[in-house]
């Protein structure tokens, strides 16, 4: 490893030379790259060192960046468990072999998979390994005087000689003052000046890269405190923020039930607005507004919840993600006692809100009864005799049921899916194909066969689907993103330039050098020289 030369600065091993030598000051290291690519006899220490150098090289960074991009592609092709659980279920049902294969290589969870994590962790190790020495180096540079001029000025990008008639000392003073005015850091030493500008470029670049680490670190540490849950909330209903109130709940790794602030939200009203798309002749929603009342710490306040406009409650937010109709269904036993009476949220299936829902009556009747319901806000009869809805507004709300009796399968404790009936294990007693159609408008009652009791479509409510979310990463990621943008802009808008002035027989000689390509350098020097010749006794500018 004889060819390695001492260097003052640090830059990634294979940074382009035009950028590299600049930081080496007087001793442009021609070839730190001449370091052996795994030379013949490397000790363990050298090997570690070599590995580290390799990992923190620019080339490795590029390759890892491209690899991250490529590795993300399957995440957009294969349905992801988090973004598209239904897509995953579809593959599981339709193609079990493919499902098994995807599952075995974590293709349903690309972004948390071992292989994707490995790539981005390597990238961030490389990044940190890159940042630390650069921060130390830049810190020193920031406190040091501008770099000395190179011994041979021929290497400089721009060189100009300005004849000076008066005292060179006064001219140097003027030059130094001009450079200071152009926001250069200036050191005058005897017959020469060294000046430097644009430290912000490296500062911004480092801030940018550190912000990237900030984002990842926040995601890694804070996301464990996240939680979110969904709930269907019917008009008039109140919801208290506790685990049992949620229809589904997803806690983060370190979630603790005490994280749930005690508050309650009730839905006063939900008003959707629709217009008819003139071209496609279908109804389109143009506005959803939910009025809610939030009870928090003994205080009540009214809030408006809209799409794109969540309600802030405590350290969580409530979002409006869905809505639909919830017909109120009342079931009575033969004696006329109410055994079931509540709004049942139906899930809409199309633009005119044809919806499906399930009613389960496990107790109070001679047998368990399950009802599969279809709801039409504006029912019309098709030629086939089937019903359909022609408007999302409830102009002629109608519910039809297929009614079953038998074991609903609720007793094994799992409670089952509230939107599904185990039809295979039940006996149909009314509804389609039984000869007894069950078609109810509000106020209508149907008498169940076999003297089981009655079913009434009592009234109609709306419900909204809300998601309540606490995202502990938002602050850290947002702050990091702000730094990221600021660093990026600062770095890209700044040019790092050095200028030197020395006294020669012909006058003052100016030399300038930029880090990286900088087509504006000559013009920048020109502007300073123009002012210099304007204010001073110097005459024409001649280029050497």
């Amino acid at each position: 490893m004889a060819s390695r030369q001492p260097s003052k600065g640090y830059q990634p091993k294979d940074l382009d030379e035009s950028r590299q030598w600049f930081d080496e000051g007087n001793a442009p290291v021609k070839n730190r790259l001449a370091e052996p690519i795994l030379g013949p006899k490397l000790g363990p220490f050298e090997f570690l060192r070599w590995t580290w150098r390799l990992l923190t090289s620019m080339r490795t960074a590029i390759i890892l960046l491209v690899l991250v991009a490529v590795a993300a592609i399957p995440g957009s092709i294969v349905p992801q468990r988090l973004a598209d659980p239904n897509g995953v279920a579809t593959i599981r049902d339709s193609n079990p072999d493919l499902y098994k294969f995807y599952e075995s290589v974590q293709l349903f969870d690309v972004f948390t998979s071992v292989w994707f994590s490995a790539i981005y962790l390597l990238l961030f190790i490389s990044l940190i390994g890159c940042i630390l020495p650069r921060v130390r180096h830049h810190w020193n540079v920031l406190r040091a005087a501008p770099a000395d001029a190179p011994k041979t000025w021929t290497r400089l990008d721009v060189r100009e000689v300005v004849p000076v008639t008066g005292s060179t000392d006064a001219a140097l003073d003027r030059a130094a003052a001009l450079l200071r005015k152009s926001r250069y850091r200036v050191v005058r030493k005897g017959d020469s000046i060294k000046a430097e500008f644009g430290y912000l470029r490296e500062t911004g670049n480092l801030v940018f890269h550190i912000a990237l680490v900030g984002i990842l670190a926040t995601l890694g540490f804070a996301s464990g405190f996240n939680w979110y849950g969904q709930r269907a909330l019917v008009e008039g209903q109140a919801f208290t923020n506790q685990l049992s109130s949620y229809d589904t709940f997803n806690p983060g790794r370190w979630f603790d039930e005490r994280q749930l602030d005690p508050y309650a939200v009730s839905l006063s009203s939900f008003v959707p607005k629709y217009v008819k798309d003139p071209v496609k002749d279908v109804w389109m929603p143009i506005d959803f507004t939910a009025d809610v009342v939030v009870t928090e710490g003994g205080n009540q306040r009214a809030e408006t919840l809209k799409v794109n406009d969540p309600v802030h409650i405590g350290d969580s937010k409530m979002y409006l993600l869905g809505n639909g109709f919830a017909p109120v269904i009342t079931v009575r036993n033969p004696a006329g006692d109410v055994v079931f009476s509540q709004p049942v949220p139906f899930i809409s299936q199309d633009a005119n809100l044809t919806s499906v829902g399930v009613v389960k009556v496990p107790d109070g009747l001679a047998e368990q009864v399950g009802m599969q319901g279809f709801f039409y806000p504006s029912a019309v009869e098709l030629d086939s005799g089937a019903l359909s809805s022609n408007n999302p507004e409830p102009t002629k709300p109608t519910v039809t049921f297929n009614i079953y009796k038998g074991d609903l399968g609720l007793d094994d404790g799992t409670n089952g899916n509230v939107f599904q009936l185990p039809i295979d294990q039940l006996t149909q007693i009314a509804g389609r194909h039984t000869g007894v159609d069950v078609v109810l408008e509000p106020g209508d009652t149907f008498t169940l066969p076999e003297g089981l009791g009655t079913v009434e479509f009592t009234s109609l409510s709306r419900y909204i689907g809300v998601e309540i979310r606490h995202d502990a990463t938002q602050f850290g990621v947002g702050l990091s993103a702000a730094f990221l943008v600021a660093g990026l802009l600062a770095s890209l808008a700044t040019r790092r330039r050095r200028m030197w002035v020395r006294v020669t027989a012909k006058g003052l000689e100016w030399g300038a050098q930029s880090r990286g390509d900088d087509p504006g350098l000559e013009a920048a020097v020109g502007r300073i020289l123009a002012k210099f010749t304007l204010t001073g006794s110097g005459d024409k500018v001649s280029t050497t």
Partner: protein
Amino acid sequence: MNDLATTSLIATYSAMGVYTFAFVLFTVDLAGRSASEEQSKPTRWLRSAMALTWLGWVIHLGATVMRGIAAHRVPWANMFEFGLTATLALVGVFLGISVFRDVRFVGSFITGFAILALGIVATNFYVAVTPLPPALQDYWLVIHVFVAVLGTGFFATGAALSAAQLFQSARESGRLTTRNWRFLSAFPKAEALESLSYRLTVIGFVFWTFTVIAGAIWAEHAWGRYWGWDTKEVWSFIIWVLFAGYIHARATRGWRGNPAAVLNLIGFTAVIFNFTIVNLFFKGLHVYSGL
């Protein structure tokens, strides 16, 4: 109101027509330059080509504004409108740069690309003006899509220059010497092409960074999470990372020049892919093509 939308569509086709003439003249100019042994001086066709491009752009601008007025909102809420505005930005970026730098030699690429893109969105993706669904009613839509459109314009011009750079560098290293390639002598040196391409692409990268951040903020408003690896989010991420790779390549020994240019073109391919294939065939929340 719908009349205005119709007028807008007519103006779109007119702009395409004018661009087509410009394209022809740009090409004639390049051909003319390769005909003469010595080359290089722009032919008289070039000025007419530029004038026509300006004219086409003004009509194109009119088409876009009329569309916005007809819809009572910003004209970039579905695939047709996005295509209309993005090509407007692309040609606008090209014209804007040409005020400062002579980049007229990529004129045939830019106008050709604009004609193709406009033709595809106007014939295949045209939709009449429709109101916005609630999820799209957010000022972040305005910001998010606007910076995306601008970024795309810069990426496209940068990619055009990178492509020119690859040909030019092949020519400089002694290949592509046949007569057909002589028009390349009208182009700047490969290194100058690279440096200009880099500067435009970096501007595109800044806009893209804004796009991703604005999109995340909007997603937080609309869907409750700022990032969920939805297909569109995945591809925005891929694009961002690829261009970060390109920026590094430009600063890395052995990667400057052709390899960096290739990375730039790969990045731009991802941009196009994101707009076309991902919109049309991939499933996700961003189903805004309006079809």
